[in-house]
């Protein structure tokens, strides 16, 4: 299964969300997208988008305060 990582740290709403949507598009079912982000608002909106789209949030980690890594498996 393919794994892709995008870094949207510093990006402003709605760019973290739209960049994640765009990055997910070419992936196949079962592939994973890791999103590195630092916006608390984006963490919530990307999580909600993934759930609405039927994808699976595999992990949400916090490698350092104020920065998160979301790993999403494509439905």
């Amino acid at each position: 299964m393919a794994e892709k990582t995008i870094d949207v740290c510093g990006e402003i709403c709605p760019d973290p969300l739209t960049l994640s949507m765009q990055a997910m598009k070419p992936l196949a079912t079962g592939d994973t997208l890791k999103v590195v982000l630092d916006s608390p608002n984006a963490l919530e909106t990307i999580t909600r988008w993934a759930e609405r789209a039927g994808h699976t949030i595999l992990t949400t980690t916090e490698p350092e305060p104020g920065q998160w890594e979301l790993t999403i498996e494509k439905a």
């Binding site: 510093g10 919530e44 909600r48 988008w49 305060p65």
Partner: protein, 331 residues
């Protein structure tokens, strides 16, 4: 003056704290209906509105606060509301979320707030004032305290409120919503924001200012004070504004979410433009997302209702034009 400072700061700090923990942004709330078919933040907003409507009208019944307006500013509400929605899209957040995100360390939001303040002042009492005045001329006089949604549909105020609470409450209970990844749930956020908005009316009225939470007027007044040092411009609203990034900073720090962040230079300039558009539009619309969509709708203002409708249309149009269309073109 000390009461004004303390009451204003206290409500502002509470408001900023709740906004940060709830990630409460009306741009996100309205945008997500269109962009990802999600209504989680919309539910928080609707709950906040229903709580505020109930509490504020009860306070009015007991004579603790007074409110009401007679004039329906239909054209300025439409034009200002739509432009404000476009401005929010460019700024990456509404006026209140731009203020609170300063407390999270977001430099771009600080820039958006600066231009919001400047252009609000420029439109309220500077070179852009003729634009606002021209639009204000188009009004409908509806009678003493009758420029309300209830009066527009011919219903008694309390019957209208009862219907709103019933329909809104059923929708809140029925529609699905996500659990938060990290912050407050929509229920906690909506309840907190609604109660703070109601408390704001009492705290502000105690100092002689007869309104609730507001961003636009206080923003323009802040610039006038900073350029004249005339204390006549200092009121409860300015200290409420000042308290917001402080409250958000406390919330972000205690939850280890504070971090200095800045986007690419071009995006910062877009945020600056967005703040400017929001500032001008908010004066035209006689309020921003807080002044109209929360406080104004809280007293059932018809002008605020129309401004909010067009704010939503502006948000969707701006999101399509500046984000969805380019995304589709990139494939």
């Amino acid at each position: 003056m000390s009461v004004t400072i303390i009451f204003g700061l206290a409500v502002g700090i509470l408001f900023g704290y709740a906004l940060q923990r709830g990630r409460f942004c009306m741009y996100t709330a309205f945008r997500d209906i269109y962009l990802i078919r999600d209504m989680t933040l919309l539910k928080a907003y609707v709950l906040a509105l229903l709580v505020q409507i109930l509490v504020v009208h009860l306070l009015g019944e007991f004579g603790l606060i007074t409110f009401g307006n007679s004039t329906f500013f239909w054209l300025s509400a439409m034009v200002g509301g739509f432009l404000f929605g476009v401005g929010m899209t460019l700024a990456g957040g509404c006026s209140s979320s731009s203020f609170y995100r300063i407390g999270e360390g977001m430099v771009g939001s600080f820039v958006a707030v600066l231009t919001f303040v400047i252009f609000a002042a420029a439109t309220q009492s500077g070179p852009l004032q003729p634009l606002a005045l021209a639009l204000y001329a188009y009004t409908v006089e509806m009678g003493q305290d009758s420029a309300t949604m209830a009066h527009a549909v011919g219903l008694d105020r309390w019957l209208f409120i009862s219907i709103l609470v019933l329909v809104g409450g059923i929708w809140l209970l029925w529609a699905p919503a996500s659990r938060p990844a990290r912050g407050w749930s929509w229920e906690t956020t909506g309840l907190a924001v609604g109660l703070i908005a109601a408390i704001a009316w009492i705290a502000s009225s105690y100092t002689g200012r007869n309104y609730g939470l507001s961003m636009t007027g206080p923003s323009a007044a802040t610039l006038r004070y900073m350029t004249t040092a005339d204390p006549v411009h200092l009121d409860w609203g300015i200290f409420q504004l000042l308290g917001m990034p402080i409250g958000a900073f406390l919330a972000a720090s205690w939850n280890k979410e504070f971090k200095w962040r800045a986007p690419q230079p071009q995006r910062i300039m877009r945020q600056a433009l967005g703040g400017a558009v929001m500032g001008t539009a908010a004066v035209i619309a006689l309020g921003c997302n807080i002044g109209n969509s929360l406080t104004g709708m809280g007293i059932l203002s018809l002008s605020s209702f129309v401004a909010t409708l067009f704010l939503i249309l502006g948000t969707w149009s701006g999101t399509y034009w500046f984000f969805v269309r380019p995304m589709r073109e990139r494939g």
